[in-house]
């Protein structure tokens, strides 16, 4: 289960992905070394992000959901339609 954390003044810095070597580099490096394309039939890249879950704050990893069907939805921003 996701591990809850307290809401502090500092921004949670728990961002992790399964390709940290490409992600942690400088902006220019990312453009040269694009992360692999998502393909159907291939594993979904894992990630960990801070989340708001039913009144609480916790870190959520995709890998926690192994064994279940998952729908991941990106959207442009809060207070827009989804």
């Amino acid at each position: 289960m996701p591990e809850e954390f307290k809401a502090g003044c500092q921004r949670p810095s728990s961002r992790q992905t399964s390709q940290p070597q490409t992600i942690e580099k400088e902006e220019t490096a990312i453009k040269e070394e694009k992360p692999p394309m998502i393909k159907v039939g291939k594993p979904a890249p894992d990630f960990t992000l801070p989340a708001f879950i039913k009144g609480k704050f916790a870190n959520v990893s995709l890998s926690e959901y192994k064994g279940k069907w998952v729908l991941v939805c990106f959207y442009p921003g809060d207070f827009t339609f989804v």
Partner: protein
């Protein structure tokens, strides 16, 4: 999605604090008891880049939707530019189809226009060249 036993994760570049405000001030007025799934904060867009949905110019994420099976494998995705919203019904239909195929262990396939209750196809050497006997073009459009 809960009925289909699907876990939903929503992701945007907004902070968890903005997620809370949006939930508390607007979404909880649309959905009783508020949003039931985790709302993830991808500040900086790293996960969006990983999934090919981060818009570098706008600094936001496009409407990308990924169906991931219990083995962690991507079965389908759809990405739309921001002005057009999704069709949730189509997402549900696709999940139902993927679940059926998985439960049949690949012995069944869902032809174009399939939805629950409609006929599936059973791929085999005998089906090659004989789909026309099993499936009519009109079934792609039938409600």
């Amino acid at each position: 999605m809960q009925e289909l036993d699907v876990e939903v994760l929503s992701i945007s570049v907004d902070s968890i604090f903005v997620h809370k405000m949006w939930n508390d001030h607007e979404l909880s007025k649309m959905v009783q008891d508020g949003i039931p799934f985790p709302m993830l904060a991808d500040q900086g867009g790293d996960v969006g880049r990983l999934y090919g949905v981060f818009d570098e110019e706008g600094g936001t994420e496009t409407r990308g939707r990924f169906i991931i099976d219990p083995d962690g494998v991507v079965q389908g995705f759809e990405v739309l530019t921001p002005p057009v919203g999704r069709n949730v019904g189509e997402t549900i239909r696709q999940i139902q189809a993927f679940q059926l195929v998985r439960e049949s262990q690949g012995t069944e396939a869902t032809p174009s226009g399939w939805k629950p209750g409609k006929k599936t196809l059973k791929p085999s050497p005998d089906l090659v060249g004989n789909v026309w006997k099993e499936w009519k073009v009109s079934e792609a459009f039938n409600e």
